[in-house]
Symmetry: C2
Subunit: 295 residues, 2 copies
């Protein structure tokens, strides 16, 4: 039997990601001897107790992190500073503090100022998700075959980084390292901008005349459907992602908008060659993804 | 045994849609006693002969349509005028001329002027597709559970319209009628704009620095992937769709761009409430689709 990686692993937040990590441990993947879960809302904590995927559910966040060898923030990135203010005095010397947030610059900005000496900060981002959220939504195989990007800051203890990498290996993930600035740009184009577009086009459709909107819903099967799958995502999480990756998202939105306007201009002026070129580039990227088995 | 709907059904074009109609007939769905296929390229005609899903493959388009009770145009909408010039003199009096194009205003514009007296034009649009194209890509169940929109013009013989509706019923589709202008607006938002966005965002990603682009391909699994599925679509078909539904696509692009810019502005100025509202609307539309089983 594999030795558990940690004695006590504390998860702050028990939604899709936190709930999936806890369930992974339950299924015998030796993340920790004991998994302690806490969450801001009474309803969530009660539900976690009912579901039984944690060894211990703590109402008090300070009690939850005390004595934990590893603490993982599994809450929207917008509340990190606030959570850190509550937990920082209670973190054990030598403990590892890590997270699962979709932005990494803001996480380092919000956690570093209060980081106690001797606590190791290792930010991480598992690139896995579904359109569901809440304590019922997690499952132990969520991270299998998915990338986890680790963005250690300069001077982070290599042993702590390795422990976080091993945690995700035991979740079935592939691990990559990246600096936080590159991370934030990459996710802005592969994930945040597509979500912004998905949310937006739903609103655009919703603003059409009553009759057209009815037809839109009826005939959405072709094309629109794929855009709305990701539009089902969690409200608070995504609000915080946009607000906390502002520069990169705005840069990618600006680039995309220029390109979309150029496409529109080509349609207006009947520039068949330009349009064909754009479509061919789309197909090329698509085929690259298929070759890499990401599609 | 069901009586075949037509004696001779002629398919002009044998890609995903034409090939699927022919295969549907082969599987015993009684579309016609004989299915005649023609295609512009020798390679396609040869491949159709090899695949054997047509009863007869004609090199000469005039010979293909002669004596057909029903002719279906299954080619990109940009070549309709040109094809019509070739077939119009050979259409049988009483024959039905229909199509499968994704735009309907342009189809009526391009086919009506040469329509021989006594030939019934019934434009139609099966809202079904995959990211594959060509004679190998079709399959007999492609249209099952999908909508087909029929856009008869004023004065079209009701018996001819009913025959086209029955053809699609036998393909397993649900049939709706709509005027061509409404059709073109609805597909502009549910299908054409999403495709424009998908092609564009691939190009935007492709223009990033070498290092970022590499990472984009690697980490595309979350979000980006869904956008690129539809970006794998056929080049000529989509070029023609954009050029032939210009007004509606440009209108929807303009509306969408305004909305995306408003979203970007809210991110820049930290307007959490506005962002939450947009995300909630996205979720609402998503949930409507789930209720309608279109998701």
């Amino acid at each position: 039997m594999t030795e558990p990686l940690f004695d006590r692993l504390c998860l702050i937040g028990a939604g899709l990601i936190g709930g999936s990590i806890a369930r992974r441990n339950r299924e015998g993947h030796a993340l920790a001897r004991e998994v302690i879960v806490t969450a801001n809302s009474q309803a969530t904590r009660d539900r976690v107790r009912e579901l039984g995927f944690a060894d211990r559910v703590e109402d008090d966040i300070a009690a939850a992190v005390r004595d934990a060898d590893c603490v993982i923030l599994c809450v929207p990135v917008g509340v990190y500073a606030q959570v850190m203010a509550k937990i920082a005095p209670h973190l054990k010397p030598g403990a590892i503090l890590t997270d699962v947030g979709s932005t990494k610059g803001s996480v380092i900005r919000d956690l570093t100022p209060l980081l106690p000496a001797g606590v190791h900060l290792v930010p991480a981002h598992p690139m896995a998700g579904t359109e569901y959220s809440g304590p019922d939504s997690g499952f132990p195989t969520l991270f299998e075959g998915r990338y986890v990007i680790v963005t250690p800051t300069e001077g982070t203890d290599p042993a702590a980084v390795e422990k976080v990498r091993e945690l995700w290996r035991r979740c079935g993930s592939m691990i990559e390292s990246m600096d936080p600035v590159t991370h934030d740009k990459v996710v802005a184009i592969v994930s945040h901008l597509p979500h912004l577009i998905a949310f937006t086009i739903c609103g655009t459709a919703d603003d059409l005349s009553e009759e057209t909107r009815e037809s839109v819903l009826k005939f959405a099967a072709s094309g629109f459907r794929d855009f709305t799958r990701i539009a089902g995502s969690d409200v608070n999480m995504w609000r915080d992602v946009f607000l906390n990756n502002r520069e990169a998202v705005l840069e990618m939105l600006a680039r995309f908008t220029e390109d979309a306007q150029a496409f529109g201009r080509a349609i207006r002026w009947g520039e068949a060659g330009f349009i064909e070129d754009r479509i061919k580039r789309g197909r090329k990227i698509r085929h690259s993804l298929i070759e890499r088995k990401q599609a």
